[in-house]
Amino acid sequence: MRFLTAVAALALASAIAPSAMAANVASFTAENVKAMVTEGGGSNVTSQTAEGLTFVNFDLNGLPFTYSLQLCDPKGKAGCAGILMAIGVALDQSYSLDTLNSFNRDIPLVTVVQIDAKTIAFGRFAVAMGGMSAENFKANMQMVAVGPELFVRHLKGQVVATTGTAGQAVPVSATPEAAPKAIRLSPQAMSRLIDEETLKKLNVK
């Protein structure tokens, strides 16, 4: 909880109320995810079913997040073992995969991937199997929540050498002129962020 508080200070103004430390979340359902997200400061929390998956959409500090429940019990009784937490960012300019790689290298709390030339996504997969606390869920939630802002900060720290008029090396910031815009990923985009074959190999779905 204290680490959560420290990390939350990165980007979140809303405090998360401490709750019991029981690791009693053994699977994910739309209902318990919506409850934890709400407790974690999310607003406009809704769920939907599309592409054969259940999605939970919400806003957190003005950013639109989408979570998809994964590794679900086909009979629907035991809930889902995993959850993909993600947010998209629309770009006014494309960033090289080299830049995305450097973010993943330096800050592997959340993975950034390129969906297309103008869209990237930040994602983190969490598993409940075995049992986690709601507080731990929210700690994972914060890892994704800070992703876009960490990326912007990472870009500001990225410099590339160029040549000035006098022939000297001039550092040039990779910071974009306009801030990237966070977007809610569609069910179709979310489906592209996870590979069905990988899940099958894990003998679950």
Binding site: T5, M21, L71, P108, V127, A128, G130, V204
Partner: protein
């Protein structure tokens, strides 16, 4: 060994879904429902031994120039060396650690950024990245125990990571790569059927990962993004 881990993964996943008792006690972690709220190297090493990790050992990494050293648990699975660094220690609560960083490294054989991006999409829990300077590719995953997770979930998280690394190595085995030959000429793109060569992470690679997390705990709020 690898088969054990793969089997354990399937078992763990099924257990998590169906809440069924594992059929093979040898793969069952002890005190599965015990809640872990801060982690130690001994905790991780103990779990690894219980679920079948080989050559499990604990070492201190770093500590030069007066900096604090870090506890790293090393183990082997199917001939692949894995490292788990205990991190986010002391920063918040003295004597407690709230996260661990899993890292497996292999020689960079010219894997393209596009290949790594594809694998970052295809894998579930891994983050793949290149370190151009040191010429390696890292397959990483940071787990947080803050707030509390069960020992069984810790075992599942480690097992899943191991399974996914093996799967990613398979995918990397058949990648088209380019490179520079010994005579300095650029080699043509070719299918590289040779298996990726794992390397054991050095102190720099370990601390790069753990420092990223440690630094975050110090940062002030950042400017918010525009939203649609």
């Amino acid at each position: 060994m690898r088969k054990l881990m793969l089997a354990a993964a399937s078992l763990a996943l099924m257990t998590g879904l169906a809440q069924a008792a594992p059929a093979d006690d040898k793969r069952k972690v002890s005190n599965p429902t015990a809640v872990v709220q801060s982690i130690t190297a001994d905790d991780i090493a103990g779990i690894l031994r219980e679920i079948g990790g080989a050559d499990v050992s604990i070492s201190d990494v770093g500590g030069e120039n007066g900096e604090k050293s870090e506890k790293v648990v090393s183990f082997n699975d199917g001939g692949v060396p894995f490292s788990i660094a205990i991190t986010l220690c002391e920063k918040v609560d003295p004597g407690k650690c709230y996260a661990f960083a899993q890292l497996m490294m292999l020689e960079d054989k010219g894997y393209s950024y596009a290949t790594l991006n594809t694998l970052n999409v295809d894998t579930v829990t891994l983050t793949l990245f290149k370190n151009e300077k040191e010429a390696y590719v890292g397959l990483a995953r940071i787990e947080i125990v803050d707030g509390g997770v069960t020992r069984e979930r810790l075992a599942n998280a480690i097992t899943w990571y191991v399974v996914e690394v093996h799967d990613a190595l398979k995918k990397l085995t058949q990648q088209v790569v380019a490179g520079v030959s010994a005579d300095g000429k650029t080699k043509a793109l070719a299918l590289d059927a040779a298996a990726p060569r794992p390397v054991k992470p050095g102190p720099e690679a370990i601390t790069q990962m753990t420092n990223a997390l440690e630094r975050l705990a110090d940062k002030r709020p950042l400017k918010k993004l525009n939203t649609k």
